[in-house]
């Protein structure tokens, strides 16, 4: 796929920002777009390097836009960079630079790997009218809960999560409170994207993701989910990507 690495002066970062753009061959413009969010401590190339997501996207006529988010925590950090504002800035900037990218809801999809899935669901809840589909792989969707685990010593994450999110109480009722904002969206009657969450059967994130699946079920919100064999790695996620993309593009509306 034709590949563009974009460096630009980011207002939100107060310095240089970076994202990658991959355009499909043999597809008509404006292109459907998959916004791909990498995992913690990665960069935009991570998911490209370790999975076949570009091939899956191209087979479906989709461009892929992948921002490099500092530390990959997708939040305006308590101590650190404005990682969430940066990703929203890329959502605005990329289609202005690349006029071939569609910004229509029916052409716009989100995919997040691990922590990128938190960013994915966070964006999907803030802008449900902007995206037709959103999926996460082994993702801490409910970071308020995950921070609670961390505070009680039941999570393997390090101090950097406190630097980023502060605490479970600080993060509650913010734009990052995905479950809280899901409830608000339901109450407001906002149309939600198709959503999917997949994880591995020996994945350390499986308990958090099973819990999130349960919450969605209780609320009556369809969350397509698959459990693959394996742990928290691309060997587990890659075989599920095609099926999930097909669901996001063609699955039943909730």
């Amino acid at each position: 796929m034709p590949f563009f690495r974009v460096q630009y002066e980011s207002v939100t970062l107060g310095g240089e920002g970076e994202f990658g753009v991959f355009l499909p061959r043999n597809a008509r413009t404006p292109y459907k777009t998959l916004w791909l969010l990498h995992g913690a401590f990665g960069d935009f190339f991570e998911s490209i390097q370790y999975s076949s997501v570009l091939m899956y996207a191209e087979q479906r006529g989709m461009a892929v836009v992948a921002p490099s988010s500092y530390m990959g925590v997708y939040t305006d950090m308590v101590y650190g960079e404005k990682g969430y504002s940066f990703v929203k800035e890329v959502l605005e900037t990329a289609p202005k630079l690349f006029s071939c990218l569609s910004t229509k809801r029916e052409d716009s999809y989100l995919m997040g790997i691990s922590m990128g899935g938190h960013g994915t669901f966070k964006l999907a809840m803030e802008f449900p009218e902007r995206f037709a589909g959103a999926c996460g792989f082994s993702s801490p969707v409910d970071m308020v809960y995950t921070m609670g685990l961390l505070e009680s010593g039941n999570h393997g994450g390090g101090h950097e999560l406190f630097d980023a999110f502060g605490s479970s109480e600080m993060y509650r009722d913010t734009v990052g409170d995905v479950i809280g904002n899901l409830r608000k969206n339901l109450k407001a009657g906002r149309k939600l994207p198709r959503m999917a969450l997949c994880w591995g059967d020996t994945d350390h994130a499986r308990f958090e993701d099973e819990r999130v699946k349960g919450i969605f079920d209780e609320l009556g919100v369809k969350l397509y989910s698959r459990v693959g064999p394996g742990g928290h790695n691309f060997d587990t996620w890659d075989p599920m990507m095609e099926e999930v993309l097909d669901y996001l593009m063609e699955g039943e509306e909730d």
């Binding site: 034709p2 974009v6 460096q7 202005k96 690349f98 006029s99 071939c100």
Partner: protein
């Protein structure tokens, strides 16, 4: 402002290639498109060579245009007999692709071509063959004597290079008519606005073109700062930024 590095397979090359692009500070409003400066680099250089040689970001701001820097490897930006069709790529394939991806204008008055070294030769030939491609053309440091049968153009490396690009019979009348800078200048019917910078051969060609057009500017070679002098002068004579 953005610096974009491209890597991919584009027609008519049908071969992996690179280009580097600097976009202006201001994103275009709905329906508006950027002007474009097509900046052709020297022999054997990657596409970011000109980005490093000049401050292309500052240039993009000054002229309020996207600066697009393709690579041309060792092609003279020609459709090579033994190689790839670089001329068609630079004048057709690449512009069509860029305009399908980015908000870059295809109007003649919004397009400018400047080349350095081998790129100067490429820019000159585009001006002669496709004068409607751009409003103004700048050629700096080009070897206008590339077909000459003299000592500096007879070494085995030069002969091999010429045979690769133009064919074994590269001094044939047909090849010279199509590619020799002086013959192109003498036969040109439609001469666009041009800046030519260089030594005596450049002066001779500028003289031929000046007899046909009042819009030819010649700058004598000034040594190692030729590129900067020529580029600043080109900014002034283009004057449509």
């Amino acid at each position: 402002m953005a610096v974009i590095h491209f890597r991919g397979n584009l027609p008519p090359l049908n071969n992996t290639t690179r280009f580097t692009m600097v976009t202006p500070d201001i994103l275009p409003e709905d329906g508006r498109k950027w002007r474009a400066l097509w900046l052709l680099g020297d022999d054997g250089r990657f596409s970011d060579d000109m980005l490093r040689r000049i401050d292309a970001e500052a240039l993009s701001v000054r002229i309020n245009a996207a600066v697009i820097m393709p690579e041309g490897l060792h092609s003279d930006y020609e459709n090579m007999v033994r190689g790839l069709p670089w001329y068609d790529y630079v004048t057709t394939g690449l512009p069509e692709y860029i305009r399908s991806i980015f908000p870059v204008s295809d109007r003649r008055e919004d397009n400018f071509v400047f080349g350095y070294g081998m790129g100067g030769l490429g820019a000159f030939r585009i001006a002669m063959r496709d004068p409607r491609f751009a409003l103004a053309y700048g050629c700096c440091g080009a070897d206008f004597d590339v077909f000459a049968d003299d000592e500096s153009h007879s070494g085995p490396d030069h002969v091999h290079r010429m045979q690769t690009i133009y064919g074994d019979d590269y001094r044939s009348e047909e090849i010279l008519r199509n590619s020799d800078p002086l013959m192109l200048a003498e036969n040109a019917a439609d001469v666009p606005r041009m800046l030519i910078s260089g030594g005596s051969s450049a002066a001779k060609i500028a003289g031929v073109l000046s007899e046909k057009s009042a819009e030819i500017t010649y700058i004598p070679s000034s040594g190692e700062n030729d590129l900067f002098h020529a580029l600043y002068a080109f900014e002034r004579i283009a004057d449509q930024w």
